[in-house]
């Protein structure tokens, strides 16, 4: 930095024109930094690959790989289009239901957290305590949350709902906080000038600014929760995951294929819709 400042004020300091040779001599030397960065990454990669061994395929490895591929191309259509309680459409619906409820509860629960953790509303120490809390909620993996809630609700879809409500708080409130801290306070000033009281200021100054981004965040999280809900099924929290894992473990490949197709189609649809709605919200419907 010192050298750059010297270069920029050269003419005032020395009262003569800078020459190209002098500018070259004063060039910032960045290659050391770049080499260091590359070296650090190389060392990290080397260190991590030391313990990740390729131990070859398992005895049944090729059979599994073939089976999965075969299943994906020849899914069990009876399961895929069936209407029973254990068929793909019903399980997908249940997964969606878990995600809907979980996201909604999470989005509502996140509001107080977000306001309490915003530095422009709360005093800094309080805000930072709540931020730490939010970080803790976020750090505990959703699977662990599910395993803990299972002790309360027992296995089933309800466990998925409550787990997702809690897990969503972390990310949703983090994004809410950004929206709250970006609030345009000039509007409040002008409302003040018109003689509005605190409630009126919140109703007409704050809420209109926040709704669009809050809704957008919620929809985005719904997208994530839907994929996450599949995972939660693995520990018994309802939805399609449990059946998928069972089929994988018992090697019923055609059924695996049916579940995978169902999952992909659902996720693609939801992602498409959610992206469109969020784009509309961002550009004004």
């Amino acid at each position: 930095m010192a050298k750059k400042i010297q270069l920029e004020n050269f003419e005032q300091t020395f009262d003569r024109k800078l020459t190209a040779a002098e500018a070259y001599a004063a060039r910032p030397r960045k290659w050391m930094l770049y080499t260091l960065i590359v070296l650090i990454i190389a060392v990290l990669v080397g260190w991590s690959s030391s313990d990740v061994h390729f131990t070859g395929l398992t005895v049944t490895g090729t059979e599994v790989a073939k089976g999965v591929l075969h299943g994906v191309f020849h899914p069990d259509t009876g399961l895929l289009f069936g209407t029973g309680d254990t068929d793909v459409p019903y399980l997908l619906m249940q997964t969606v239901a878990i995600a809907v409820l979980g996201t909604l509860c999470g989005a509502i629960l996140a509001i107080p957290f977000a306001f309490l953790a915003s530095t422009n509303i709360m005093p800094k120490p309080v805000a930072y305590v709540f931020r730490l809390l939010i970080l803790m909620i976020r750090t505990i993996p959703s699977l662990v949350w599910a395993l803990m809630w299972i002790r309360v609700t027992g296995p089933g879809a309800a466990c998925g709902v409550i787990t997702q409500s809690v897990c969503s708080i972390g990310m949703i409130s983090k994004m809410y906080i950004t929206a709250i801290e970006d609030l345009d306070t000039h509007i409040l000033e002008s409302l003040d000038a018109m003689g509005c009281n605190a409630f009126e200021k919140i109703r007409y100054g704050v809420i209109p600014q926040l709704t669009a981004s809050f809704i957008s965040t919620t929809i985005y999280r719904f997208d994530i929760n839907l994929k996450d809900a599949t995972t939660l099924g693995i520990v018994g929290a309802g939805g399609i995951g449990a059946s998928l894992v069972q089929c994988l473990n018992s090697r019923r490949w055609a059924m695996v294929g049916a579940f995978v197709w169902g999952l992909m189609v659902l996720a693609l649809i939801i992602e498409f819709v959610s992206t469109r709605i969020r784009r509309k919200l961002a550009h004004g419907a």
Binding site: K4, E8, L18, T19, A20, A23, R27
Partner: protein, 254 residues
């Protein structure tokens, strides 16, 4: 010498931008092309360095028919023709000198390009180019921290660094404020005089064209309506370029 002989240019969408252009520009001239937007000013410049192909007629530069050039030959030809853009077209995250050095990239071997290794001579030459436009002290500053005028000078230095015989400038001062615009125009004048580089520029501001350029070409709807020394152009002739009887208006499908 640049020579247009009955040049026509029709775009793929059917719009004819140039209709029988005949033009001769000697080495070392400083020419301004004036006209309404859409009249074909940019097309003339972009035909010279073959960013666009001419549809009909011949365009020769130093006795070489430009339309016959292909691949490597075309790229070698473009080395002699520098181009300046309205929006500067610099990598704004990189420093000024890095942008100037990119002018050397076409002559470098693959691995030097890949790792961005430049020799000391190249760096010194880049610094000298920056010195020629008077912003040597900003050599190691990132372009997004420079003002518009300074950025256009970096672009000019990049062009000088390729040792061109011709510089084509497409609305070089349109995004600049009046004072900076004048400074950049003075840079062009100096470069034209000191290095005997032909300069062709498109410009909206007639006053700047008349003040700084030697020769002014007025173009309207793809045809040349005026061509002569800046000192002889009259107000009537300018009016004809900008709103003559046959001038296109919005909506008649020019």
């Amino acid at each position: 010498m640049i020579e247009f002989k009955d040049v026509y240019k029709t775009y793929p969408n059917g719009f004819t931008a140039l209709k029988g252009i005949n033009l001769q520009i000697e080495q070392g001239e400083f020419v301004a092309i004036i006209g309404l937007s859409g009249a074909g000013k940019s097309t003339i410049l972009r035909c010279i360095n073959r960013m666009h192909d001419v549809t009909e007629g011949t365009l020769t530069v130093d006795d070489v028919d430009v339309s016959t050039l292909r691949g490597r030959e075309l790229r070698r030809y473009r080395r002699k023709v520098g181009m300046i853009f309205q929006s500067f077209n610099l990598v704004s995250r990189s420093t000024a000198i890095k942008n100037v050095l990119t002018a050397d990239v076409p002559d470098m071997n693959f691995f030097r390009v890949l790792f961005g290794i430049f020799t000391k001579e190249q760096k010194m030459r880049a610094l000298e180019s920056l010195d020629k436009v008077g912003i040597l002290d900003k050599a190691y500053t990132r372009c997004d921290q420079l003002s518009g005028g300074q950025q256009q000078r970096v672009a000019l230095a990049r062009t000088l660094n390729q040792n061109p015989k011709i510089i084509l400038a497409d609305e070089p001062v349109a995004s600049l404020d009046p004072i900076t615009a004048k400074q950049v125009m003075e840079d062009f004048v100096r470069i034209n005089r000191d290095y005997n580089i032909s300069i062709l520029l498109n410009i909206h501001h007639v006053d700047l064209a008349l003040k700084y350029c030697d020769r002014v070409i007025g173009i309207r709807a793809g045809e040349i309506v005026f061509d002569g020394p800046a000192s002889t152009i009259t107000q009537e002739q300018i009016d004809e370029v900008y709103n003559g009887t046959k001038a296109p208006t919005m909506g008649d499908g020019e």
